[in-house]
């Protein structure tokens, strides 16, 4: 590994930008994610920043049990994030669909649709746990930097439709 690449890896690990995606969540995990960025928990000390555009982001944080209406958007957004990227599933909903299991309007769990790197369990997880999950994803991100970029094009709107 040359020096330049190692520097890039460190930079990736130290400044992961998040894109937050609500796939039908109850807002519980979403407010805990925002609370993790607030002064008490201060995720910004890890270089974490919430970003409005998926094209600027490194880590996609998905909350919610993945409703049918959200599937197409999740695939599109995942395709729009540049390589290397990591996905953090916040809460029990994206992992197992939680109490909403058996609902016919859900298309979850999340890993049926996009690859997930870190699961943060809890309903909702505490902000500390979310920060730990994001820090873990940042390490995965730095390792992934070393691998060659996948030749994967973002799905078109027609492809992404369920």
């Amino acid at each position: 590994m040359n020096l330049w690449k190692r520097l890039i890896c460190t930079c990736r690990r130290r400044s992961p930008w998040l894109f937050h995606m609500n796939s039908g969540s109850c807002n519980g995990c979403d407010i805990e994610l925002v609370a993790a960025l607030s002064p008490r928990y201060d995720a910004e000390q890890l270089g974490v920043r919430l970003e409005g555009s998926p094209r600027h982001a490194d880590i996609v944080c998905v909350t919610g049990p993945v409703t049918r209406n959200a599937v197409a958007a999740i695939k599109t957004v995942y395709g729009q994030v540049c390589h290397p990227k990591a996905v953090v599933a916040i809460g029990s909903c994206p992992a197992t669909t939680n109490v909403f299991i058996d609902s016919r309007t859900l298309a979850g769990p999340l890993d049926k649709h996009i690859p997930v790197d870190v699961f943060v369990p809890g309903c909702p997880p505490r902000p500390d746990a979310i920060i730990q999950g994001v820090a873990k994803a940042a390490e995965i991100l730095a390792e992934r930097e070393m691998k060659p970029a996948e030749t994967e094009l973002p799905p078109t709107v027609e492809e992404a439709r369920p």
Partner: protein
Amino acid sequence: MSYKIPMGPYHPGLEEPYKLEMICEGETVQDAKLHIGFNFRGIERLAETRNYIQVIALMERVCGICSNIHTLTLCQAMEQLTGLEPPPRAKYIRVAMAELERLHSHVLWAGIASKLMGFKTMFMTCFALREKVMDVLQAISGNRVNYAMNRIGGVNRDIEDPQALVPMVDELEREMMRTIIPIFTTSATARSRCAGIGILTHEKAVSCGVVGPTARASGVAQDLRRAAPYAAYAEMEFETPVEQAGDVRARLFVRALEIMESCRILRQALSKMPPGEIDAGEAKLVFTSGTATSRVEAPRGEVMYSVSWKENSRNPSRVHVRTPTYANMPAIRWMVRGARLADTPLIQASIDPCYSCTDR
């Protein structure tokens, strides 16, 4: 020539997935259409397949911000069907939880509103203060979001030493008085972004049937805690703040004053809490056939549950929920008409929308 600007469903200005389609003439919004349904999890259908214990846990997850209100309303409706009456101490604990939830919800809203104003410092201040409310909630229930406090005929956990929580409430009130309220009421930034925008007139507020702080900011003095007291609200002394202006600033004022009133109710509930049992202690619940409705004043307005039950059944045959955002949503259209495009995120956030409640 007018053109259409879609906003959402995944947009940095929106906290939740929904879509706002605006028809604009230059910078001015002429009309807006709201599309919801991205959060539809089919909870009402799921509730019919859950028994009376499971349905409480399910309904708690309708909304992560007002989770206690949903279980409170559901439990009140189920108490009507079982004929159980919660003991006085349980009612006081319910009031304390409801007011703490209102506090954290209003402070959260203030944070999000200031973020949309572009006032990032205020956002951080609000969230730092909100953590103090969360501390009290955590001291009582052990949880930060889904408190699991209500059960049929009472509450699950006791507040062992209510007096010990009073200093925490005092500190909360002091912080509110010292930072949040002066900044929102006197700061030029807040005033220039909020005054005179998103006006909902009294007539329109009445004809749209808006509820909660949105209605009270347009001069409609309605508050279920006063009009139809539930839990122990009949024994509390408090004011209902009402503003006449109907703009975003009035909604901000109403919520700021409600924060102070919540502190007042909370102090009364904690200091007057009667001793005794915290639940009716019924081992076996017997439901009668019929439909029971229950209404509660949530932080955003009126929540109504209508629960139908068939005798000898473990599951409800229907749980219907009416959420405050459902009532407030149509008013957005009248608020954004004639507004500048840049103000629309703040205007639509000023009703404190919760689309995960509305879609369910």
